[in-house]
């Protein structure tokens, strides 16, 4: 019960800080939109090519935006060594991890309602509203799959000056299964799924998300406490 209360308190605190600052969400959203825009310019006016690559570009925009957002999430904790203050209270490091990971997931989920319509317009994709709802669900699972290892690595690299370089280097290879499953599933949603493959890709995506959430939760206490 105490673990749950502590987790929810960390989520609440993070969301409040995010709301007060708003700079992170604005910069990450702008970054995502600009990324989508640049990709569409790179492909050119070929609407068939645009449609075919829409899923990949959308997931790439999510991935790049998430790295920016994740590295920022622990920067606040390092100011005035606030994270140390939390550990001294004493907050169970597992509660701290799940609190941060949940708030990072919510943060990434918030990108979907903005980035998806932009992608649909830029890449000339027409789809049914029901498919968009499925897309939002998939986006949430992908956000969870990225946030779990992302939060762990952001904590590990937060005390380093080279965090901006190290975080993507560590994170990207690990999240390849999540990215592949998301790209395939989103592509099937946007372009049609005659073989009914979405289900299996979604199961793969959710499975990896569950594995990451479990393992990273166990590793986080070592990442945040060791080496001090």
């Amino acid at each position: 019960m105490r673990l749950l209360t502590q987790t929810l308190t960390v989520v609440r605190k993070d969301l409040l800080l995010e709301w007060r600052g708003r700079s992170r969400i604005i910069s990450v959203l702008l970054f995502g939109v600009v990324t989508l825009l640049l990709f569409s310019f790179a492909v050119g006016p070929d609407s068939a090519a645009l449609r075919a690559s829409a899923a990949g570009f959308l997931v790439l925009a999510l991935l790049l935006s998430s790295t920016l957002g994740l590295s920022e999430s622990f920067r606040l904790e390092q100011e005035q060594r606030a994270v140390e203050g939390l550990l001294l209270l004493p907050v169970d490091p597992i509660a701290l991890y799940y609190g941060k990971a949940i708030s990072n997931t919510l943060f990434l989920v918030l990108l979907a309602p903005i980035l998806t319509p932009v992608a649909l317009v830029l890449y000339a994709v027409e789809t049914e509203p029901i498919r968009l709802l499925v897309l939002l669900g998939l986006w949430a699972a992908a956000a969870a799959g990225l946030s779990a290892p992302g939060t762990l690595y952001a904590a590990m690299t937060s005390r380093l000056q080279s965090q901006d370089v190290l975080l993507p280097l560590l994170l990207f290879p690990l999240v390849v299964p999540v990215l592949l499953a998301t790209v395939k599933a989103v592509s099937l949603i946007l372009t049609g799924d005659p073989m009914e493959q979405i289900r299996s890709w979604t199961i793969l995506l959710v499975s990896f998300a569950v594995i990451y959430w479990s393992i990273c939760g166990l590793l986080f206490p070592h990442a945040i406490e060791e080496g001090r």
């Binding site: 308190t9 800080l17 007060r20 606030a82 140390e84 203050g85 001294l88 001090r228």
Partner: protein, 232 residues
């Protein structure tokens, strides 16, 4: 004054190394319940290192440290439940208000965050009127006053204070002095590192002098005064 004979904190052969430099070495100390211990020494003598080791923020490179029988490394969470630390850093989020900060701390401690309980505490440190302002705009002294409230919220067995008088005005220093007296009366142990000897000596039961990470002298506050007079 309530002084218990069983040590609440025991450091045996404690050492902490950063690279090749031993910030603390061969450090043996026993502190009892209700005791107020002052650590003093020049900058870099190992005071903060010891306090951080006691708080479980550093892992010892050598030796052991236990708090009420709990090993500071293996039972870190149990140890932290028994202590409260106020350090150089404020542990504050600039964008949260003073009241929100207290609410977060209290919830994390597992208690209900009732404003009716928190506002009197803010009144005690002179921040009640500024409770709805972000702490990022507070002066260093105001931040320190707010951080000091952690010692009141946590109800610890051991209070670790790193330079508790720094950044505070005279009224703030009087407040800390009063709190330390109160902690002693309640049977809590206080270990503080301070350069403000006139203030600290008034309230300490024992003074421990550190040099290059080692204890070089231990005695009562009055003995320290005589020693300092002799030295000068």
């Amino acid at each position: 004054m309530t002084v218990d004979t069983t040590p609440v904190l025991r450091a045996a052969g404690l050492g902490k190394r950063f690279g090749r430099h031993w910030a603390l070495a061969h450090f043996d100390l026993e502190v009892h319940g209700g005791e107020v211990v002052l650590l003093f020494g020049a900058n870099g003598s190992g005071k903060t290192t010891f306090l951080r080791l006691a708080a479980g923020l550093y892992k010892p490179s050598r030796g052991t440290l236990s708090i009420q029988g709990h090993d500071s490394v293996k039972e870190r969470l149990d140890c932290r439940r028994l202590l409260s630390m106020v350090a150089h850093d404020n542990y504050l989020y600039a964008r949260l208000t003073a009241l929100e900060t207290l609410r977060v701390w209290v919830r994390l401690l597992g208690s209900p965050a009732r404003d009716s309980d928190l506002i009197p505490l803010l009144e005690e440190v002179g921040l009640a009127e500024r409770r709805r302002l972000p702490v990022g705009g507070f002066s260093a002294g105001m931040k320190k006053r707010l951080t000091l409230l952690r010692t009141r919220l946590e109800q610890p067995k051991i209070v670790l204070l790193d330079e508790p008088f720094s950044a505070l005005d005279v009224a703030g220093q009087d407040l800390v002095e009063g709190w330390v007296e109160r902690f002693r009366e309640e049977g809590r142990t206080v270990i503080m590192a301070s350069h403000n000897l006139p203030r600290a000596l008034k309230i300490c039961d024992r003074a421990v002098s550190l040099e290059q990470g080692q204890i070089v002298w231990t005695g009562s506050g009055s003995e320290l005064v005589k020693r300092e007079e002799k030295a000068s």
